[in-house]
Symmetry: C2
Subunit: 419 residues, 2 copies
């Protein structure tokens, strides 16, 4: 069997499973999630053994320590997987709920009903925790899932998926509701993302390179974010103490994530007061490398000089680009030009400036007087997150259970025909 036929078979099995999933009640799905969690726990040693083989191979292949850390499963990480599955079982099931309902003058009742998307493919890197998280969220929303993780985590993923399937099947999980692509054939991803009519959406999770490769090859819809170039704009009417705390949080609390701030924009009227505060707290205490434009460096000459590339950069590191702007409109223009439509924040007490910023910034999440670090399914109260979207259609920002559903119209009549 060639790779095309192999992926097609996986796709066909997923479509069949998606039909079976429609018939599971919320109660049934929740008990299946509980059994999955139990089985992950009871197979902890087997999962750790499989993971140890992956880690050993990765180390001898020279994988970077940060990557090895993400690959490694400990008792507490396996415990978190099980807890994640139990948490998802406790969330409200969006499937089957009525989004809106109206009755037409001719008596037709139209109900816009929330339904699963169908078949979801998740393409990700060597992070085995994604396997359990994504499988749990897709299953809860009655979607069949096809998982393709990084090859360096294959043994770990096989052990985890085996636990999920065997545990779930004790309570009636459809056999092919959760499938792992086990081949290491490099063409597998291309075949998978071209399965029109089988795969309804692809969600790639990982670095920009992985996501661009998926988008380049895909013939089915992709929901994604390439990167997070998030901005903090400190307005002329900002509380500078608040602004300083938010800048520190957005840049330093966890610099390696997509909702960390990468660029600071400061209104010219407060630059002379605020930039020395930034230099002291972020540049000094927090060891952040500051890269400023000429106006910023005129205030804090110790800053490095920013180049055009800095405005586009997602550093994922303790580096911050700094620019002085003439107005909130200039800040908006900078963000819409250089940003990634992810998360951007204005620090201002001015309702006018807030209004311009929230209306004109073309991003999935726009903040007023808060840190960009809140763009996260958990922080939004969604209970869980399958990813973050910077796309315009279907889902934007943190994606929880609802974002894994779509709708259909169910129209009930009593013999109505069109005039």
């Amino acid at each position: 069997m060639g790779i095309h036929e192999e992926m097609l078979e996986i796709g066909n099995r997923a479509v069949s499973a998606s039909r079976e999933l429609l018939r599971l009640t919320s109660r049934k799905k929740n008990s299946i999630l509980q059994m999955m969690a139990d089985e992950v726990e009871s197979r902890k040693e087997a999962i750790k053994a499989a993971n140890a083989a992956d880690v050993l191979a990765a180390k001898s292949a020279g994988m970077a320590p940060a990557m090895v850390d993400r690959l490694t499963l400990t008792d507490s990480r396996i415990q978190s997987m099980a807890k994640g599955l139990r948490d998802v079982s406790g969330l409200k099931d969006p499937v089957g709920s009525s989004i809106s309902r109206w009755i037409r003058p001719n008596g037709l009742e139209i109900v816009k009903t929330r339904v699963p998307i169908g078949v979801i493919a998740i393409i990700y890197e060597a992070r085995p925790n994604v396997t359990a998280d994504a499988a749990g969220l897709c299953f809860k929303t009655a979607n069949a899932v096809i998982l393709r993780g990084g090859k360096e985590a294959l043994q770990s993923n096989k052990a985890i998926v085996e636990a999920l399937r065997l545990g779930g099947q004790k309570k009636g999980l459809p056999e092919y509701a959760i499938q792992l692509v086990e081949t290491t054939d490099r063409d597998a991803v291309r075949e998978l993302v071209q399965l029109e009519g089988k795969v309804d959406v692809v969600i790639p999770r990982g670095g920009e390179g992985l996501i661009r490769a998926v988008v380049e090859q895909a013939r089915v819809p992709v929901i994604k974010h390439y990167k997070g170039v998030c901005h903090i704009y400190v307005d002329a009417a900002a509380d500078l103490g608040m602004a300083l705390n938010i800048c520190e949080n957005a840049k330093c609390q966890r610099p390696g994530v997509c909702n960390a701030a990468e660029t600071l924009l400061v209104h010219k009227d407060v630059a002379a007061r605020f930039l020395p505060m930034i230099s002291q707290r972020l540049g000094g205490e927090c060891k952040v490398e500051l890269r400023g434009d000429d106006a910023a460096r005129a205030v804090v000459p110790s800053m490095k000089s920013a180049t055009e590339d800095d405005w586009y950069a997602e550093y994922l590191d303790l580096i911050l680009a700094v620019r002085v702007v003439g107005s909130v409109q200039d800040a908006v223009d900078h963000i819409n030009r250089y940003g990634s439509n992810h998360s951007d924040s204005i620090i201002s007490a001015s309702p006018e400036a807030q209004k311009v910023f929230t209306q004109d910034v073309n991003s999935a999440v726009v903040y007023v007087n808060a840190s960009t670090r809140f763009t996260d399914g958990g922080e939004f109260g969604m209970g869980a997150e399958i990813g973050i979207s910077t796309d315009k259609l279907h889902a934007r920002g943190p994606m929880g259970l609802e974002e894994l559903t779509t709708y259909k119209y169910v129209v009930r009549g009593s013999g109505q025909v069109r005039e």
Copy 2:
């Protein structure tokens, strides 16, 4: 300037216009729509003259009469365009409304806010009425629109767009909010649908060939339906009189449209009673050609024999494929296999059969005891329609104003940082 640069310039102008459109109030937009309508009326003679040139050229090029009819603008059709624009000005503006709102324990207020999509490209055939309709709906939702109609309608479209722009600009329509692609370069469509970061979504309207060509070339999201292979399933528990009326309406009232029925599925327990009724009313009075499977022909031997291709066919004509099925589940399986995910109806008094059908049929609109012909923005009460989607994501079924919007999160705090 090459075609790439030409389309890129159109895209850049649309992006700029989309920013300006964000600032227009609903009242302002409505007065602009009124002025567009007035100008279409006052330029009626110029529009008719331009159209006459298109019609003359089309006729001498041998265009089919049905196509020439669609191309031709009469006084009443121009009046309908103006009325359509006024109707849209009277519809509720979805932009800026709050879809949902909640407050987190840390005090953050999260508002999911309806916003325009941004820039929409409409690719369509030689039907000049689409020009005014699509421009009006996109403008009402504060989207910049790029129109690319069939080349046979170019003079008509230029005259209509000129009226829309000049009329609208009297009240502040942004200069490039409505753009018509005037080049006849065949590469224009390909360039347009690959303008990532400029064009947010493409909506092709026309035959399956046009839509497949757009999808094949697109690098930006496309919302579409390829075709409408709609089914009526007459269950064992059907009121056969109701079923007969609905079949006649769905097949015969307007056979050339996408929500007309193409296939009739009949439960075996009622086939012997129902198929002779169908043969008499549809086959006889309505002159519908019936193409049945063996079981159907055993009841009505005068039916032609259906082939496998008939189950996939969108006849758009007075032809109906007929199949006898063993159960509602068999009907569902047929529809999900051969159908187009558009509109399908069950005729049944049985709550169990209704439940299986509405849950399992994987279509945008699923009917119970009603004609499939109601899949239409006007019939749904949306006031207008930009098209119909059989996709899974973003919009399904009839697309009105709301479906031309997306959302962003506006999050308001008082200095919150993440723990």
